[in-house]
Symmetry: C2
Subunit: 362 residues, 2 copies
């Protein structure tokens, strides 16, 4: 028997305003470079290219990001981009990609589900982990858990079952903890961060949908039976509206049995705030001698440990005599906030929403 | 004998980058509103309108500011705007305005020389002082000296001669002091700030030029004899290049005898830095409950004592969790600097000059 087919499924439909003003609904984080040589999406595809090749990379995105995604991934085959007619959260996105993989390679096809907007410092270590996960994804669902380096309250955690070796059973998916709980998790050594990376066969995804998400399952069956790309698109545009809008974590993972996790450390970050962008700069080596991270047309004088970002089209940004600040500018928005409070960008986003300032969020 | 004619001469040719990015060569400070309802230039004219009327206000400006000045002062008679063919510092600007006043009203015409870009909180008190200065400007040169409220090192000072009453003799014009000297000046009570406001007759200006600035004097004589506005402009465009390029302080005041000064306090500021703009906001009553001064389309959250300015055309500016900062934005430049270091904007301007970034300075 030939080795089973393998596909990467890159989830690139997210919105996200945690990096406002740079990130927007139509210019989400995965399309930003954030100081690197390529967008996070392009980096995600390139990172797994040695494993899958372009023919075996599927990307799921939102309608209003389609053109931008095609520009970022010019080598992606046209029919490997799946455009959601409307957002249906990650379970829906994974379901339709799994159906496409099944249509092409059968239900035994193994899938690597990967978010498009994360940062990984050690790419070789990451690929090694992905290969290991794919090996074990014949029947089980495998996930990668990031060994925590700090008591983060912004991530979901995975509790490890007793066991040794590179791959262990999942005891439970647990919600974002409060600070005390996060410290306890960190000290126990039995918890890892849920990085949203899952490995399973197309058939297993069909089975899980059959059990937990019947409307998605119905659509997946019809899609998996489609013979031509045009049929796939027609079925999708007709049926996607009806599927359950739920995350893969709530919709599948928290209910599934036979889950494995590979605890790993490859310099992962979800780049969930401007302060995380500063951390990323460490491995990109774009910090100056005073610890400033600068991106774009900026000038710093007598300033230390700042993150100063001027996107293309933004005004020139000059920063003098300050430290530990984030200053981020686009053509239509400027943010000034202390690094340690970077998550409070939501105060701005909420105020803009409340004031109906859609242009500044779209 | 009829009362002598009186003219205000508003000097509106300055460049200035101390309020960068808002102030530029072609958009100097006098054209900015800085939180007020009108530009500083318009405020300067309006402030003395009850004394002079539009027919007796002369404005001297630079060629590349002519259109902007006309837009700001729509009621100014066309021929009351004197356009310098090229910059020749304040002695030249005052000289040609004095010649125009002499051509219209004779050498006995009294002039009030006023910078276009200062702020004055108590306008009635200011006008009272101007009227007093004009009364005494028949023979002497009169200046207004601002009673110092702090040991400023950024201003020139005037040492008062012994004497009492509202108007006293000038003992000397003195240079910008160092910090220790400024403290001594402040404590002595015998020094006032040189605010660049002078009151004298057109004839006295001609006499001073004859003694100290012979080339300017030659041009002034020709201009004063001109009968038509077109002649005046032609003579100016031919002869202005030749006149001495020197400030009125160095070129005349430090050498002149018979100088009087009126010590005064009417809430004066030269708005020489972004921190001075914050002070101005106090009397404009544009500060929020947390002491922030905000101008334009800005949003502050959990922020205190900041100056946040978004000029027309600038991006929206959001400031979270900081205090005592200046954040100023235009369409093409953003500045972030602590209020107490606002004068260090020159670090930015110098770097832009060195890098040949003319667009950001013009």
């Amino acid at each position: 028997m030939a080795a089973p087919d393998r596909y990467a499924v890159i989830l690139a439909g997210g919105g996200g305003t945690r990096l406002w003003p740079s990130s927007r609904r139509t210019r989400p984080k995965q399309l930003l470079k954030l100081g690197g040589p390529e967008s996070l999406l392009a980096a995600t595809a390139r990172r797994v290219l040695p494993i899958f090749g372009w023919a075996r990379i599927l990307v799921v995105t939102a309608r209003d990001q389609e053109q931008a995604v095609r520009r970022e991934l010019r080598e992606l085959p046209r029919d490997n981009l799946v455009v959601e007619p409307e957002p249906r959260n990650t379970a829906g996105a994974i379901g339709i990609a799994a159906a496409l993989a099944a249509a092409r390679g059968g239900v035994g096809t193994r899938l690597a589900i990967l978010p498009a907007d994360h940062d990984i410092a050690d790419e070789r270590g990451f690929r090694k982990t992905v290969r290991l996960a794919l090996e074990h994804a014949g029947g089980a669902i495998v996930t990668i858990g990031i060994r925590p380096s700090s008591p983060e309250t912004g991530y979901g955690y995975i509790r490890l079952a007793a066991g040794r070796g590179p791959i262990v059973n999942v005891a439970a998916f647990v919600e974002k903890p409060d600070q005390r709980t996060a410290i306890r998790y960190l000290r126990s050594g039995r918890y890892v961060w849920n990085a949203g990376m899952f490995f399973l066969t197309a058939g297993r995804m069909l089975d899980e949908a059959a059990q937990h998400l019947p409307r998605l399952h119905g659509l997946m069956q019809r899609l998996a039976a489609s013979r031509r790309a045009a049929d796939f698109r027609r079925l999708l545009s007709r049926g996607y509206r009806e599927v359950e809008a739920i995350s893969i974590d709530y919709g599948v993972m928290e209910k599934a049995d036979d889950l494995l996790v590979i605890p790993a450390s490859f310099g992962w970050s979800d780049l969930g705030s401007w302060s995380a962008v500063a951390e990323r700069a460490r491995h990109l080596r774009i910090r100056d001698g005073a610890g400033n991270v600068t991106v774009g047309d900026v000038l710093l004088a007598d300033a230390a440990e700042n993150v100063v970002v001027a996107d293309p089209g933004a005004p020139f940004v000059a920063v003098v005599g300050v430290r530990d600040l984030v200053v981020a500018a686009t053509a239509d928005g400027v943010l000034v906030i202390p690094r340690r409070r970077a998550q409070d960008v939501r105060l701005v986003v909420d105020a803009l929403k409340a004031a109906g300032r859609r242009k500044l969020l779209d």
